[in-house]
Symmetry: none
Subunit: 194 residues, 4 copies
DNA sequence: AATGAATGAGGGTTCATTCAT
DNA sequence: CATGAATGAACCCTCATTCAT
C-alpha cells in the first residue's frame, strides 16, 4: 500500500517535472495528476525538493545497475559488444521512460541552490561513471590518452544532446539500435572520414 | 542614449540570469544591479521573458559572425586550420563572457512555455549551424556519412558539456587552446586508440 | 485502564503545551510523546482544545484543595500562619510541576476564541478565590479596605510574575520558602520602608 | 506618504494582534482591515514577526519617555508625587490605547521562538526599568531591602494583572486616577490593615 | 523618459481532524 | 479499543507587472 502510493506520487511528479521543469512544476499540478489531496503529498515526501531528489536517486541506481564492467576474461564477449550492451540498456531505460528522458535534459544544472543539490549530484554521479570507464579504457589500451574529465563532460553532453533531440520529437525517430550505433560510432571514431 | 540604457539593462540581466538561472532571476535584482527604477525596466522590455530573448538573440548573431564558411579556394588555409579558427573564436566568445557561458548552460531548454520559446530557438539555431557544417563536410568528403541531425545534437551537447565543465569551476582550468584541441580531437577522432 | 490512558495523554499534552505554548503544540508531538496512534487521541479527547481544558480544570481543583479557609476558632493557628500554609502549598504545587508552571504563564489569556474559553475560566476561578480571601480579610479587619476586584487582579498578576521569573530560569533560584516570604512581605506590606 | 501607510498598517496590526493574539492573527485579517493588498504589507514589513516587533519597539520607547527619573533637588516635588506622575503617564498611555493594552496582556511570553524574541525583550526592558527604580528607591532609603529581581517581576505582574482586569471589560471601570491610587497603595503598602 | 507604490495571483507548506479498517 | 492514511482549509510569503504621478 505504502509503496504503491509513493510510486504513484513519484510517477505524477516525474511527469510534471518533465513537462514543466523543476521551477514551473507546482505541487498543485502534481497532486491533481496523482489524484490525491494536498496533505497526502507531504505524508510521503517532505517537499518539492525531496520528490525531485528521489526521482534522480532512483534513476542513478537504475542506471548504475544497467552498466556492466567490461569483462576481460577469455570466453567473454569482445569489449565492443559488451560496451554496446551497456549502452543499449542505458538508452533503453532513458528513452523507455519519456518522462524521465525529458526530465533529465530539462533540468540540467540550474545553478540555484534548490535544484542544484541533487541534480548536480546526479550528473556528477553519471559523469564519474563515464570517467571511470574512460580510465579503464585507457588502462586497457582501448582508449587514447586524453583529459578524462573534459572528455567525460563532452561525452555526457553528447548523450544528453541526443536524448534531447529524440525527446523534442523529431519526425522519423530512429530506433534505439540506430541511435546506439550512431552514438558508438561518434564516440569511438568521431565524425572524420578515413 | 536609448541604446545605452538598453545595453545597461541587458548587461545587468545577463549577470543575474547567469548567477541565478532564469526562474530565480528577479526583476528586483536586475533593476538593482542596473541602478534603475522598476518602471524604467518596462519601458525598454515588455517583461522578463523579453530580456531573456534579447540576450539569446544577440548571442546567436555574435556566434554566427564568428563561424566562417570553410573556404575551398586554393591558397586558402587547409580546412582543419579553418575549422580550428572558427572553433577558437566560438569558444573564446563563450568562455570570454563568463556570464553568458553560465547562462547558456544553466538555462538549457526548460521546456515550460516561458523560457522554452526563445531558448529552444537559440539552440535550434546553433544546431542548424552545426548541421550545415556537417553536411558541407560530407559533401567535401571530409566527414563520414551519418545522421547529421543526430550527430549535430551530440556535437552541440558535447560542446555544452565542456562549457559546463569549465564554468562549474574545475581546479586547473585548461587553456582555450587546450580545450579546443581536445574538442577537435574528440569530435574528429572520438576516443578510440588506433 | 481507560483512566490510565487518559492520564498518559494528559501528561504528554501538559509537557508539550508547556514547552511549545498552546498554538505551537501539535497533536503530532503529543501522540508521539504519549506513544499512541493519531486516532487514539481522539477517542479520549474531542480535540486539542479539550485536552487543554482538562489540564486547567484539574489544576483548578487541585489548587482549590490546597487553599484552606482561614479558621478563626480559638486554638487555631494565627491567621498569618494559616495564610502562609496555603501559599506554600500553592507555590509548591505550581513550581513542583515545572510543566504546569510553564504552562500557566505561557498561555495566559490568549483572547482568541480557542484558548480563551477555558483559560479565561481558569484565571477567573483563581481570581475569585483570591477575591473571596480578600473580602474575608476585610471582614476580619486584617485587610485594609480596597477595590477587591482590582487588587485581586494585581495579586494574581504578581504571583504569575514571580512564577514566570522562576520558570524562565534565573541563576540562583530562591527556595520556595524564600519565595513565599518575599511574596507575603510584598503582598502585605508593599515595598515601602517604614 | 510612506510614514502614513506604515502607521496605517501598524494600527491595523495592533488591532488584530490585540483581538486574536499573535498566533491567531493572520496577515489576511491585517491587510483586510488596513484596506491594502497582500503585497503592500510586505513592502513595509518583512513579515508578521516584524510588525509585531515594531509595535513593541515603539511602545518601549514611548513608555521610557513617560517615566521620569525621580528628582531629589530641593524645590522639586516630593518623590511620591513624582512617582505618581510617572505612573499616571504610563497607565494613561496603556489604557489610552485599548488595542495596545490588550496586546501586551495577551501576548505575554509565549515560549516559542517566534513571539519570544521581541516580546521577551519588551518585558525584559520594562522589568529592567522597574528594577532600576527599585534599586534607586533602596539607595534613597524609600524602599525596603528586597530581592529586587523577584519583586520587579511581581510588580510588573501586578500591573499587567490590573491592565488585564480593565481590558477584559469590567462593569463600572475605575478612572485612571482611581486605578493609579489603588496601584500605588498596593505597591507601597500591600494589603494589610494597620 | 522616469519613477516606485501598489497589486494579487500563485507558490509551498502545516496540521487539526476524520474514518475505514 | 486502536490504528494511521487521508484530507483540505488556512497559513505566510514572493514577485512579475501596472499605472498614477
Amino acid at each position: 500500500m505504502r509503496q504503491q502510493r509513493r510510486a504513484q506520487i513519484l510517477q505524477a511528479s516525474k511527469e510534471v517535472f518533465a513537462e514543466k521543469g523543476y521551477h514551473n512544476a507546482s505541487i498543485n499540478e502534481i497532486i491533481r495528476r496523482a489524484g490525491i489531496a494536498r496533505g497526502t503529498f507531504y505524508l510521503y515526501f517532505t517537499g518539492k525538493q525531496t520528490v525531485f531528489d528521489s526521482i534522480l536517486k532512483e534513476a542513478v541506481e537504475e542506471l548504475r545497475s544497467r552498466i556492466r564492467r567490461i569483462d576481460t576474461d577469455e570466453g567473454a564477449d569482445p569489449p565492443q559488444v559488451q560496451l554496446r550492451g551497456s549502452l543499449i540498456r542505458v538508452v533503453e531505460y532513458i528513452l523507455g521512460d519519456p518522462h524521465f528522458a525529458r526530465l533529465i535534459v530539462s533540468n540540467r544544472l540550474a545553478p540555484d541552490a534548490e535544484t542544484g543539490e541533487r541534480a548536480a549530484a546526479f550528473y556528477a554521479d553519471v559523469q564519474e561513471m563515464i570517467e571511470h570507464s574512460l580510465e579503464r579504457g585507457i588502462e586497457m589500451g582501448m582508449v587514447r590518452d586524453c583529459d578524462t574529465k573534459l572528455i567525460a563532460s563532452a561525452l555526457l553532453g553528447a548523450v544528453l544532446g541526443i536524448v534531447q533531440h529524440i525527446v523534442i520529437g523529431t519526425e522519423n525517430p530512429p530506433t534505439i539500435d540506430a541511435i546506439v550505433d550512431e552514438l558508438i560510432a561518434f564516440v569511438l571514431r568521431g565524425v572524420v572520414n578515413f
